[in-house]
């Protein structure tokens, strides 16, 4: 009698084993869904309002000077404009070509810090929005664009008050940077032995991944 029950039970377990294996076997053929292409509109809006996508011109100048290998500048203006003037090391991806597969590899990656720029911030922000919509990571925007770049890095203005140490530091850095980028000579003539000031180490953008363990 007992033998019989055990046998029956065994049969049931063999059946369950086979069933489970069959189900799991199916999962092998389930294509990995590319959810990466989706980001919820609410989240996108929140990110848009959030300022963390911006790098200031000072931060970028510093990265270029320090030859930060993770920096990838992306010029989204037309090739003609890019030809005329572009930031050192930048690549040119005109905004109308941003979805071309040729660029997917450069844009969808998690090693480099992609920083978009245009003359202002309209085109670069549009590029950023499209890239974030695709949920590609590490995309940022140069705050103020090239206009800001010129007014802060290439031709920096001395702060009105010399008392403010921080403003002075920034100015000194910009003057050095200006020299580095071959900017207006006049701006640096008053003391030429000034070297680019090595300000605080590269600021890391916070990753919004949850920290806390599940348990």
């Amino acid at each position: 009698m007992e033998e019989k029950i055990i046998k029956q039970r065994k049969k049931r377990y063999v059946f369950l084993t086979v069933l489970l294996l069959a189900i799991v076997f199916i999962t092998i053929f389930i294509p990995e869904k590319q959810n990466r292409e989706q980001i919820e509109p609410e989240e996108l809006l929140a990110e848009l309002k959030d300022e963390t996508r911006f790098f200031t011109t000072d931060e970028i100048a510093e990265k270029i000077i320090m030859e930060d290998p993770s920096l990838q500048l992306i010029d989204v203006r037309s090739p003609e404009e890019f030809e005329q003037y572009g930031l050192p090391g930048a690549i040119n991806i005109p905004i109308e070509n941003i979805l071309d597969t040729e660029w997917t590899e450069s844009l969808n990656q998690d090693i480099k810090t992609n920083v978009f720029y245009s003359n202002g911030t309209i085109y670069s922000s549009q590029a950023w929005l499209i890239i974030r919509r695709l949920n590609y990571k590490n995309s940022y925007v140069l705050k103020g664009g090239l206009n800001e770049w010129f007014s802060t890095i290439i031709m920096p203005k001395a702060p009105s008050s010399v008392e403010d140490d921080h403003a002075m530091d920034v100015y000194q850095f910009r003057k050095g940077a200006s020299l580095f980028f071959g900017g207006a000579k006049g701006a640096v003539s008053d003391d030429t032995n000034e070297t680019p000031k090595q300000v605080a180490p590269v600021k890391k953008k916070a990753n919004h991944e949850e920290e806390e363990g599940g348990c």
Binding site: K10, L20, L21, I28
Partner: protein
């Protein structure tokens, strides 16, 4: 599409109530499975009771299969769920301590809470011990901080780490688990002739 709270389909205010309900279901299943008995739990390590192994792996596999199918049907976005980040060294040390604590104390935090609820005094003492252990960590944190944050690798998925597809990994995992289940029957039979259970 899930996760419902994260994607705003359910108001975040409901989160704690949902946590409570899920906790109730969790505690209920743990107790029903016999996890409120420490001797049953450690039976695994002495080869006389494999219920922990069975419940644990069946649960993990069922949930993993469910997640894969939910993802396929578009009901959940797997990129949006919490994946415990990998910190290699602290995880190795922490897990080794947990293994030791498990054999010495006979519970883990979840099962001790559930066992304490039905009046197991040893479970209540174990819970007290957990508080002491965490307090040691909390107050010693300045000492541990550097180590605690070492080996950070972020959100690493196991199948990506192994370079295989999610489905293939799941298949291998399930096959291994089923193999262990069938083997455990043999071991248990050897250790306990009369009490044969699958």
């Amino acid at each position: 599409m899930g996760p419902l709270i994260k994607l705003g389909a359910i108001d975040a205010g409901w989160e704690l109530l949902i946590a409570l309900l899920i906790g109730i279901a969790f505690g209920f299943v743990l107790e029903q499975a016999g996890f409120s008995s420490s001797r049953k739990l450690v039976g695994l390590f002495y080869g006389y009771d494999f219920v922990v192994l069975k419940v644990f792996f069946t649960g993990a596999i069922v949930a993993a299969i469910g997640l894969v199918f939910f993802n396929y049907f578009g009901w959940i976005n797997l990129d949006r769920i919490f994946v415990n980040p990998t910190y290699l060294w602290p995880t190795l040390v922490g897990s080794a301590l947990m293994g030791l604590g498990f054999v010495v104390g006979g519970f883990c935090p979840g099962t001790s809470a559930c066992a304490a609820a039905i009046g197991k005094i040893d479970a209540m003492v174990f819970l007290g011990g957990i508080f002491i252990g965490i307090m040691i960590f909390a107050f010693g944190y300045p000492l541990f901080e550097e180590f605690y944050k070492s080996g950070a690798q972020g959100r690493v998925l196991v199948h990506e780490y192994l370079g295989i597809s999610r489905g293939l990994f799941l298949f291998i995992l399930t096959t291994v688990a089923l193999g262990i289940f069938w083997l455990s029957v043999g071991v248990q039979r050897k250790n306990h002739h009369k009490n044969l259970k699958y």
